[in-house]
């Protein structure tokens, strides 16, 4: 295995230098059942103190960045607001700008939708955030196409699914033109000569395509990073191509060795076509972790957490998302329904990306029933098994080894860690796993520069 590690390294100089460095990000716990709000330690998901706590822990541990997800409509299931998970979140930009005041190096990343925003406004928000954080802003570009979320917006929401990467590509290209419309040296501000701007036409832009027809003058000077770091989370072929063309990092869902290596190689091989090097796009799978004094202790804790994440009521709701039917009459401790899923177009669950992952519900239902019967699993037992998202489980040394192995074997460049408890869920990782990675020389002990591009080893765009 060590051999393949070195074969995967592109240049001889890398072998002599440090081992490949691990990148780590902290994802503020989200509005799905991964987050255990019933834990007695669980704090607010809204109060600013919770964000400060997690961000400062991440910065103390020298993480690359802090990440905030976004959802622009409260989820519904069976025509009612879904009430079993955390509900509600603050505005992404506003929280990140406030966090810039209480951190000094940590990158500040947020998801911002390209469907329900306009490039001029988003570009000035990210450029402002980058100025206000001295170069730490990052943008996870997502594109929705559902009319359900569109009901909250003046432009409505409906976008043909096939149009989403066109919209995202054009949105990002337009924003890039705006970011680039001010040269870095545009502001002179010389009191004596009275010259504030080097050039009176600075910020000029004109852009016309299928989605945007805009022209004028951008009003934010070029920010420290030039442009925010771009993150992308798409997994389809179109999404991977979009990332290879435009992103600085991919938020992937492939955190295991074999799946991770496959994904990693697939996106990295797309880069040369865009004139890019392998290092210019970081692959960062989302990951959870459960730590214990020993591996056995961690496994025990993990089993408890899985059942906290999937209560009986949650199990029924998650089952409904595949069955697409009201299953409230079923006993979560009983067997799976004999009735088949409803495969009609309208869906019981709204505002949830995972729904679309069930491509063939009847086949999946048959699999689940067969497994439940073979392993004697109740509805809740089965759902605990099939929705198991736990990535790293073990004593700190075990987890540090797993993370480092996955990175050295090119299954990832690092991980975006999602604690299951807000806001203290990262403390133990910061105190126990990070020092081990540092001892092994694969994770920074000090930030090497002030900007997020510095942390990720990315160049400032020309």
């Amino acid at each position: 295995m060590a051999c393949s590690v070195y074969l995967a390294r592109p240049t001889a100089t890398r072998e002599l230098a440090l081992p490949k460095q691990v990148h780590l990000a902290a994802h503020f716990p989200g509005v799905n059942n991964t987050t255990v709000w019933s834990d007695p330690r669980a704090g607010s998901h809204i109060e600013f103190d919770s964000f400060v706590k997690l961000a400062q822990t991440a910065e103390r541990a020298k993480f690359d960045f802090f990440f905030l997800a976004e959802g622009l409509r409260l989820r519904e299931q069976g025509v009612q607001i879904y009430d079993l998970d955390v509900v509600g979140r603050p505005d992404t930009f506003t929280v990140l700008a406030a966090l810039a005041a209480v951190t000094t190096h940590l990158g500040l990343a947020g998801t911002i939708n390209s469907t329900f925003n306009e490039p001029y406004e988003v570009a000035r928000q990210f450029a402002s955030l980058d100025h206000l954080s001295d170069g730490r802003a990052a943008w996870n570009v997502v594109t929705s196409w559902d009319a359900f979320t569109g009901e909250n917006f003046r432009r409505g929401g409906f976008l043909a699914e096939g149009d989403r990467y066109t919209r995202a590509t054009q949105f990002l290209a337009t924003a890039a033109e705006l970011f680039d419309s001010w040269p870095a040296d545009a502001v002179v501000a010389d009191k004596t000569s009275g010259v504030f701007l080097r050039d009176g036409s600075v910020g000029g832009f004109q852009h016309t395509d299928q989605h945007f027809d805009i022209a004028g003058r951008f009003n934010v000077p070029r920010s420290p990073q030039g442009r925010p770091v771009i993150l992308q989370a798409g997994d389809s072929d179109g999404g991977r191509e979009f990332a290879a063309a435009t992103a600085d990092a991919i938020f992937s869902r492939h955190g295991t060795l074999v799946e991770g290596q496959k994904f990693y190689e697939d996106v990295k091989r797309r880069l040369p076509a865009y004139g890019r090097t392998r290092d210019s796009l970081k692959v960062l799978p989302a990951a959870t972790f459960i730590l214990g004094d020993t591996d056995a202790d961690a496994q025990e804790k993990a089993a408890v957490v899985r059942r906290q994440q999937v209560s009986g009521a949650t199990a029924i709701k998650l089952l409904e998302q595949l069955w697409n039917r009201d299953l409230s009459g079923y006993d979560p401790d009983g067997p799976l329904p004999e009735i088949d899923p409803d495969v009609s177009d309208s869906h019981i669950a709204k505002g949830r990306a995972s729904v679309r992952m069930h491509r063939d519900p009847i086949a999946t239902a048959n699999e689940w029933r067969a497994r439940a019967e073979a392993e004697k699993l109740s509805i809740r037992d089965l759902i605990v098994e099939v929705t198991n998202r736990q990535t790293f489980i073990g004593a700190p040394a075990t987890v540090a080894t797993e993370i480092n192995d996955l990175v050295q074997q090119d299954a990832a460049d690092g991980f975006i860690l999602v604690p299951h408890v807000t806001p203290d869920g990262l403390d133990e990782f910061a105190d126990t796993v990070v020092p081990l990675l540092q001892e092994r020389g694969v994770f920074r002990t000090e930030y090497s520069g002030p900007t997020l591009r510095d942390h990720l080893g990315l160049e400032v765009p020309a």
Partner: protein, 390 residues
Amino acid sequence: MPDPLHLAVALDGTGWHPASWRSPNARPADLFRPGYWTDLVREAEAGTLDFVTIEDALGLQTDRPDGPDERTDHVRGRLDAILIASRVAPLTSHIGLVPTATVTHTEPFHISKAIATLDYVSRGRAGWRVQVSGRAHEAGHFGRRTLPVLSPGSLDSVAATKAVEDLFEEATDYVEVVRRLWDSWEDDAEIRDAATGRFIDRDKLHYISFDGKYFSVKGPSITPRPPQGQPLVTALAHAPIPYAFAAGSADLAYVTPGDADQARQIVAQIPIPHVFADLVVFLADTEQEARDAKDRLDILDRTVYKSDAAIFTGTPVQLADLLQDWQTAGLTGFRLRPARLPDDLIAITQGLVPELRRRAAFRSSYEASTLRGLLGLPRPANRYEGARVA
């Protein structure tokens, strides 16, 4: 003893005089750095001012009414005001933070949650200066509608009046949607009931179901009701249509009278809790020095500075006299626009404020921890309280 005055300061670039960036103490090279804004707001907080406003626009500054100019001798470029306010919030503790945000090309859903979140990160100190944009070149930055290009000669035309009416009608709907979204969660909607597994009581969340001429918004907000319930809504108004808008939609209006009589007439048209007069201020130890300061900047700019608001040049004592005189017209406070930053801000906090305190006309310490509290406004009841989801 006089009623206490309320005082706000309007922050814009290096100050309101277009040549202010060339003043000896100006920091034009720091305009796009966070420390610049933190320093200014902390100075205002040291003077126990009620709040600061932060100017903003969806276009580059221009001296032309009909589009961008190509000047190189004035400050150009600015940062998003809501994000400046949130960047400053954790580093201040009592002063209100009132960023400007334009309604004409933006989404009420986004602005609602942004101001609500500013209220969370500042623990109840958020406000919003609602701004309408009638500028054709700003519309061009969005490409979703065209607005008539207004030149000085066409402002009174029928088409221009209709355009202004439409813009304010849209703004009225916009503020209504923002306010409904702020109320769309009842205060005790988050229950975290371990026994039933319910995080929220969904009967305490409300669709706002707004359906108007300009947009429809379903709700509820993704952000729970902010600490103040309803953050402070403010608007600058110069004429009858905006007066009516402010009267119907705002908690506080900024107006621009030339004297106390005009102030009296305007106040009568805006029956809301607070009407502040805007004043541009050049302050110095003597009246002559203040005039000289303005003259120096006018000469640098080769133009005599004019403003929509009255321009005051004089000493802090003279300004205190004027504020107390105008207060008798029914104004509850003033939004002072420092001509030069930081000079005129420091003259306010270290000259005007002590003078007003000597006259028992201004607070000596913060008496409340929220912006509504500083302005004597109660935390409003939720319009949806008790209503049930259909």
